[in-house]
Amino acid sequence: MILGTVYAFLFLVATICLVVGVALRIIRYSRTPAPLVIPTTPAPTTTGGVVSLMFREVVLFESLFKGSKWTLLFGWLFHFGLVVALLCHLRYFTDPVWRWVEMFQWVGLYGGGVMLFGLLGLWARRFLVDRVRYISAPSDHLMLALLVAIAGSGLAIKYGIHTDIVALKAFTRGMLIFDWQPLPAEPLLLIHLTLVILLMVIFPFSKLLHAPGVFFSPTRTMKDTPREKRHSAPWADEINRSTQR
């Protein structure tokens, strides 16, 4: 019971950290003006065009397709393995389990493995490509280690030492309504959960901010209509006025 309370508390703290941390960054990004129009051209001239471009960027990693096919391959496998794995985890939070989540479970068999494969590919590049090795800081390796450990421990629970998922679900469901329930005291599960908590806490302080960041990137999100629509910011207009005769 103590274990359940401790972990529920940690998850609460981690969630607050993640939500508040990311929200603060998003507020910061959205409040910072962008008076100069700087889309990387050719760029869309309509809002629909920008939405389409962002969809291709976020879902298909279009720029990486032009930039680096290996990074595209491993990066895409990792991210979409992660999305699949996350969606499958919804079954621990919904009761009754949503139908589509239930139907989705068989994909989850592959999600974790694909994610792990992508991560190992990305990590290999950090050792094998001299340029990527040069730009990798300790935190870049540790981030991969963390994600590999999360995927690895999750897969180990699924395929190796199973956990009591009924008890686990009681814990997660209870957590959602602040009703602390016991957590199965299995080392692998505790490792898995601890690493996830760590990831949630690190998120707003790390390069994982690329997830909200891409939606605020002026080179991708701005329309190429500077002649038609005037952009400005109070600080810029103040300078403009100061030079007028």
Binding site: P33, V37, T40, P42, I135, S139, G213, I239
Partner: protein, 500 residues
């Protein structure tokens, strides 16, 4: 200045990504601006005593002024997609010329002073204190970036190293360590009105000389009007067009087009410069002040339209930034876009059948086209995205029968910088310029060998000057480089001037 000794890179038939060679370009740094170049721009004359706090304060100010900065500094995941995209990395192998590494010398300081991770775990996340060595690195490597935006094409988050370089240069200038070449030039524009420091009498002289020369050559009275109040079009063009080769042939081409189309136009002695080096040093105040001269000239001359000559970064500033800097343009004719590129103007005239070109005049040439970085990735021509690629090519093909494009991975949005853009077109950076031209020159060499290309057309004053200087280093003729409007001018058939 003594000639710099350095090996000219070898052009390979299949371009290679060089292995990293740390520090090979750490000796490359341009001359530092003196007080006389700094102060007229509003910067301190020499390194200020409390430079560290001034630099950090400036960084904080910029983080609050431009959304791109916090987003770009936070978002990089070090995926490496940009590492083999910069022409300066490809030409030198110095790892700090990889776009991500160039960003990191600023990002590491940002992390140290502005993020929790960097404040508490600097070693872990690669955060560093701001030291004199860091300032030195900034000065070296922010002057080995031509702000060409090629890296931003391939970044999954659209991180544009040009924005980081501009911020780096602005911080440097604000603590008293500006770059002499760019700042001296901006000072000349503030004082005299153009980059060359060409006073009005010299400009009058030059334009009269051009009128005589052209009339002698083709027996048509093509005019080069200056300060003509009431003209329809104000042409602002890079001042290199008044003097340098092959730029001046482009200017002659514009004048011929205006003449034949019967458009009344004028140059301005007050705003005799399209270039705006304010963008290069990342300083809004100076960029705005340079642009403001043009707004003023348009009002004083009472023109209806503003047309910009062949110049890459000038077109980016005009097309993308003028509306912010000096807009809105309510007093101009809204039937035309403001500003309009000379290529757009000529293209429209051709579409309307108002100009007749005889490509046979250029039959001695096989022409290729160098997409200028700022036009390609920082602006547009015409109504549809990508018009900046279509229109210049359409113009060349109307004026020449023999046109060949270079390899697709080196043209359009993938184009390589000439190696001299971004305020680096100075002899104290010659080694960098020669090495940075390698990717473009390699692609050019291929079409020379395979397709018999004789000329490379460009629409940028910096590209034209840079190529004229570095092509001979690679054993190619400097006269290979031509202005697009030189080709137009040479092919133009003069008929009775039409009135529109």
């Amino acid at each position: 200045m003594a000639k710099q000794e350095f090996p000219i890179p070898v052009i390979r038939s299949t371009p290679e990504i060089p292995p990293i060679q740390p520090g090979v370009m750490s000796h490359s740094r341009p001359f530092v601006a003196k007080a006389e170049h700094q102060e007229p721009l509003g910067f301190p004359g020499e390194l200020v005593d409390n430079w560290k706090s001034v630099a950090i304060d400036k960084m904080e100010e910029l983080l609050g002024k431009y959304r791109a900065l916090p987003v770009f500094l936070d978002s990089c995941v070090k995926c490496g997609a940009c590492t083999d995209k910069c022409h300066y990395y490809l030409g030198t192998g110095d790892p700090k010329n990889m776009p991500v590494a160039r960003q990191d010398i600023l990002r590491s300081v940002y992390r140290r002073y502005f993020t929790i991770a960097g404040k508490f775990f600097p070693k872990l996340v690669g955060a560093t204190d701001l030291t004199e060595e860091v300032i030195d690195d900034w000065y070296r490597y922010y002057h080995q970036c031509s702000e060409c935006r090629r890296c931003s094409v391939y970044c999954p988050f659209g991180i544009d190293t040009a924005e980081i370089t501009m911020a780096g240069r602005e911080i440097l200038a604000s603590i008293g360590v500006g770059q002499k070449y760019a700042n001296e030039i901006i000072g000349k524009v503030h004082k005299i009105g153009n980059n060359l420091g060409l006073p009005e009498p010299a400009l009058i002289d030059t334009l009269e000389g051009l009128e005589e020369e052209v009339e002698e050559e083709i027996n048509v009275p093509v005019k080069f009007p200056l300060d003509q109040v009431g003209a329809d079009v104000l042409l602002v063009t890079p001042s290199a067009d008044f003097f340098a080769e092959p730029h001046v042939d482009g200017l002659i081409g514009y004048a011929k087009v205006f003449h034949q189309a019967g458009i009344s136009w004028t140059l301005s002695s007050y705003a005799s410069e399209a270039a705006n080096f304010g963008i290069f040093i990342g300083n809004y105040e100076n960029m705005q002040k340079v642009a403001e001269r043009i707004r003023q000239a348009a009002i004083d001359l009472g023109v209806k339209r503003i047309v910009v000559g062949e110049c890459g970064h000038a077109w980016r500033v005009a097309y993308s930034f003028w509306n912010t800097l000096i807009g809105p343009f309510d007093c101009l004719d809204s039937a035309y876009p403001t500003p309009q590129h000379i290529c757009e103007l000529t293209y429209d005239l051709l579409q309307q059948g108002q100009l007749k070109l005889d490509p046979a005049q250029n039959d001695d040439k096989v022409v290729t086209f160098h997409d200028s970085c700022n036009v390609s990735r920082g602006s547009r021509m015409g109504d549809t995205p990508g018009g900046q690629f279509i229109i210049p090519r359409a113009l060349i093909q109307s004026a020449c029968s023999n046109f060949v494009d270079m390899a697709p991975e080196t043209t359009h949005e993938h184009t390589f910088c000439c190696g001299g853009g971004g305020g680096l077109l100075t002899d104290d950076l010659l080694e960098l310029r020669v090495k940075g031209a390698l990717p473009r020159v390699s692609a050019l060499k291929r079409v020379i060998e395979e397709d018999g290309v004789t000329h490379m057309a460009a629409i940028c004053a910096i590209c034209k000057s840079q190529f004229s200087k570095v092509l001979p280093e690679y054993g190619m003729g400097m006269d290979m480089v031509v202005s697009v409007h030189q080709l137009i001018g040479d092919a133009l058939v003069f008929e009775r001037a039409q009135q529109i």
